[in-house]
């Protein structure tokens, strides 16, 4: 063989090894979980703010938002994802998870078996959360009722079904930096935490690139519905003219300023988020208006 071929082979091996290395699932340092004790009562607010039930509750009418048996389908350009059972059932849910395993799942997108989760699960947002809040969330979720419904396997086509490829996706798109930066007021900072880390507004309201990464330059400017038909409206930019009062009142009651009533996936968001304290909703509103200035 010619030297050039050896060179190419060597590069391929280095590339492969590097690729294998950078796409490996990386866990949180175990010391992060070790020093935390979850408070289930405090975790309820984290649960409502994070919108866990919006996706993981059952799909029947009148389903209990605290029975997280999963089953909702999310049709995307990469395939159909099914929300898994995350009730505390030890066999079909997350009942046998340790707090450290839970933190790894929500903040790193890594399963207890050490595999990458698909980013339909918004760990890309929760990675910005305070680990104490996630420990509280774990404690709260373990108090919820268990359900033995098996999770349904995702229906994702090649090559997106290769879990390892999600590692590369994370290198490209998993970004723990705040999107809205600068000199924020205390209220805007609180709203940024609620909106960017927990409520994950951007997951639907921000357009995505070809590989499904959020376009941070078009933050909250509206996007095609990521799991179905129609569009998710802008909450930033020239077409969005609501006041802070309008936003907060909408999140609380579901009524738009023209007294239309929220529907689609936002109806479920409001069912959870609307239970937060009014100052928290006001903070989200302040953040959204601040984001529009950026």
């Amino acid at each position: 063989m010619k030297p050039a071929v050896y060179g190419l082979l060597a590069l391929a091996v280095i590339g492969g090894v590097t690729g294998w290395f950078i796409t490996r699932p990386t866990a949180l340092p175990s010391t992060v979980s070790d020093r935390l004790t979850g408070d289930a009562e405090a975790g309820e607010r984290v649960f409502l703010a994070s919108g866990c039930a919006s996706c993981h509750m059952g799909t029947d009418d009148g389903a209990d938002p605290k029975l997280l048996l999963g089953g909702a389908a999310f049709q995307t350009q990469f395939g159909t994802f099914y929300a898994p059972n995350i009730s505390p059932d030890p066999d079909h849910g997350i009942g046998d998870w340790s707090q450290a395993q839970f933190l790894n799942a929500v903040m790193r997108g890594v399963s207890p078996e050490g595999q990458h989760y698909f980013p339909a699960f918004p760990y890309t947002s929760y990675t910005k959360a305070d680990p104490q809040d996630m420990a509280d969330l774990y404690a709260y979720m373990m108090t919820l009722p268990a359900d033995a419904t098996p999770s349904r396997a995702h229906d994702v086509a090649f090559p997106f079904d290769i879990r390892r490829s999600v590692g590369l996706w994370k290198v490209l798109y998993m970004n723990r930096d705040w999107v809205v930066t600068g000199d924020l007021t205390e209220q805007e900072t609180q709203g940024r935490y609620l909106a960017e880390a927990l409520a994950h507004c951007a997951e639907c309201h921000t357009p995505r690139g070809a590989l499904g990464g959020l376009d941070r330059a078009a933050w909250l400017e509206g996007a095609p519905n990521p799991s179905g038909s129609g569009r998710i409206p802008p909450i930033s930019g020239a077409d969005f003219t609501w006041s802070a009062f309008d936003i907060s009142a909408y999140l609380e009651t579901g009524f738009t300023p023209s007294f239309d009533v929220a529907g689609g996936s936002m109806a479920k968001v409001i069912a959870n988020l609307g239970q937060l304290e009014k100052p928290e909703l006001d903070a989200i509103a302040a953040y959204i208006l601040r984001a529009a200035q950026q």
Partner: protein
């Protein structure tokens, strides 16, 4: 004159090729008008509940009475088959409505029931009004969640 013929012909071709507009369908126009009237009255009771305006018992009662009567409007001619969002532009009514007419009807009946409760509560002070408006809004949202396109 040949020029005008070409223009007229082109305009006609465009008109014939355009997808059907919802406004052209009297049933769709009527049901959208019905929802506008719901919103017009919700802006009074919802506006009071949200604190946009002072509570006024007489105004609240009038709006609640209107909502009661509006939700009694017979729906049978408002939802003909083929008036869903995949058949017409400018309607957000999903085809699933016609696949689940029993459920759609049940959700409409729930709206009617919520309007009865609102009518009973509206004149009895803001504390009585607020939960009744909330319940009515939830009955609207329950249907929008399943049967209305995102936007």
């Amino acid at each position: 004159m040949a020029f005008y013929k070409i223009i007229t012909g082109a305009a006609l071709a465009v008109a014939l090729a355009a997808p059907a507009l919802a406004q052209d369908n009297p049933s769709v126009a009527a049901r959208q008008g019905q929802f506008k009237l719901y919103g017009h009255n919700l802006s009074v009771v919802g506006g009071m509940a949200q604190g946009r305006m002072e509570y006024d018992a007489a105004m609240a009662q009038t709006a609640a009475d209107n909502l009661f009567h509006l939700t009694r409007h017979d729906q049978s001619r408002l939802w003909p088959e083929g008036t869903d969002s995949s058949s017409l532009i400018e309607t957000r009514a999903k085809a699933e409505i016609w696949e689940n007419l029993d459920d759609f009807t049940a959700k409409f009946v729930a709206l009617q029931e919520a309007s009865v409760a609102l009518q009973a509560a509206a004149g009895n002070g803001l504390d009585a009004l607020r939960p009744a408006v909330g319940a009515l809004g939830q009955s609207c949202g329950a249907c929008h969640e399943d049967y209305r396109e995102e936007s």
